[in-house]
């Protein structure tokens, strides 16, 4: 072990005792996407003894420009599982646990509980607020990072009685205020930069060195290198309000998980997709195929024939309105990876022919 970490141990600020602290540490990374990949790589090579990865999603071709743990051969596979294998190759001496499920109000406390530090690598407000509230209830630090195009934010919440995300933004933005993750571009290197700043905070917390970004949020614009470190206080009333609950409550907003609309031009033919036709029997054009299920909305039973199997469930109808209803019903019933097709059956028929 010592040779692998020699250049760490040479640092007076780390030493053998610091490396032992890293080895004893248990860190959970929620989201194995743009932020999660570099965070996980460096935490693994740094010798964090136990790493957890939570991600329900599967690898898409459009992930590959920034999600550097994955290759073209991984498309369609579970991110958490592929990441686990890659990390185990990078460092066979550590323990890596993969959770191929979405973090929900029901499972979050159990998943987070065994870990010392929780890292937020998610791409939506629903999960960020969920992690924030769960960290408050379990009294664990949360290392936060978020992106917008060329800019990033980093902070550490709930660290040694420091403020939480809700002390900064008490509630998530309203519907339609912030674009959903799939609709916004991002420069490929940005999640690498911001993710490694988060990984740095994790190491600082474990080693007890430097000044942790607690009670401060870092802004970085990579186009100009304009940056800010802004201080903000703990809001006792808000924190008390969260802590009085037995388990976190889901916030409602309009981003990734709840918007769930996808356009055909963002879908790869190689994605692992189940198409669900929610039109009534007899509507035309009729579409058939081994990956097309018929579930008319009038008799829709959200869970019938559908499982959380890592496949992407895309609901469609004639114009994209009934499919939105069906998607919401499916999500409410606990089905993951659900999307509503923005276009209708005519456009899908053409797309399926073109992408045979």
């Amino acid at each position: 072990m010592n040779e692998r970490y020699r250049r760490h141990i040479q640092l007076d600020e780390v030493g053998s005792s610091g490396q032992q602290k890293l080895s004893n540490a248990k860190v959970l990374v929620v989201g194995a996407g743009g932020l999660g990949c570099p965070i996980l790589q460096y935490l693994a090579t740094s010798g964090i003894g136990t790493l957890g990865i939570v991600d329900f999603d599967t690898v898409s071709v459009s992930n590959l420009h920034r999600q550097i743990l994955y290759t073209a051969n991984d498309v369609g596979k579970h991110k958490a599982e592929v990441a686990r294998q890659q990390l185990q190759h990078l460092n066979p001496d550590i323990i890596v646990e993969a959770y191929t499920t979405a973090l929900t109000v029901d499972n979050c406390l159990n998943i987070l509980k065994p870990y010392d530090i929780i890292v937020d690598g998610t791409d939506n407000f629903v999960t960020r607020y969920l992690i924030n509230d769960a960290c408050l209830l379990l009294d664990k630090p949360m290392v936060f990072g978020a992106l917008y195009k060329f800019e990033g934010q980093v902070s550490v919440f709930n660290h040694q009685n420091g403020p939480s995300y809700r002390c900064l933004f008490p509630n998530p933005p309203a519907k339609n205020e912030v674009p959903n993750c799939n609709d916004t571009g991002v420069l490929g290197v940005l999640p690498g930069i911001i993710g490694l700043l988060q990984a740095t905070e994790v190491l600082k917390i474990i080693l007890g060195i430097g000044e942790v970004l607690s009670g401060k949020i870092l802004f970085l614009n990579t186009l100009t290198y304009q940056q800010r470190i802004l201080k903000f206080p703990r809001n006792e009333a808000i924190i008390k309000g969260v802590k009085k609950n037995v388990k976190p409550k889901a916030v409602s907003t309009d981003d990734c998980i709840f918007t769930t609309s996808l356009s055909l031009n963002t879908i790869e033919a190689t994605d692992n997709i189940v198409w669900i036709d929610v039109r009534e029997n007899g509507e035309t054009p009729e579409l058939y195929g081994e990956h097309i299920l018929k579930m008319p909305l009038s008799s829709f039973e959200s869970s019938q024939n559908l499982q959380n199997d890592g496949k992407r469930h895309i609901f469609f109808c004639q114009s994209g309105i009934r499919s939105q209803k069906a998607t919401n019903l499916a999500i409410e019933s606990g089905l993951m990876n659900c999307f509503s097709l923005k276009e209708g059956a005519h456009e899908l028929k053409r797309w399926l022919t073109q992408n045979k």
């Binding site: 791409d123 939506n124 990072g145 917008y148 900064l168 309203a174 912030v178 916004t184 802004l230």
Partner: protein, 77 residues
């Protein structure tokens, strides 16, 4: 009184600029928000915070400087 506001994230697109001078009638957070919403009505429906001197301002604060940062939450990952 004129102050300079610097925008972050989506607010850059919303205003079409990275910073600008705006006129405020009251040297307070409320005064700045009123001026921002007058200049850019879309701010009424936005979640954002104001900061100066590297500190985030609370609703009841009065301004100490004439240079403010205005930033929204980011959600991308």
């Amino acid at each position: 009184m004129n102050i300079t506001v610097t925008y972050f994230g989506k607010l850059i697109e919303l205003t079409g600029r990275t910073s600008e001078d705006i006129t405020i009638e009251e040297s307070s957070v409320v005064g700045v928000k009123t001026a921002l919403e007058k200049a850019h009505p879309a701010f009424k429906n936005m979640t954002y915070q104001l900061a100066e001197n590297n500190s985030i301002l609370q609703q009841e604060d009065t301004l100490q400087t004439r240079a403010l940062d205005v930033f929204p939450p980011f959600s991308g990952g």
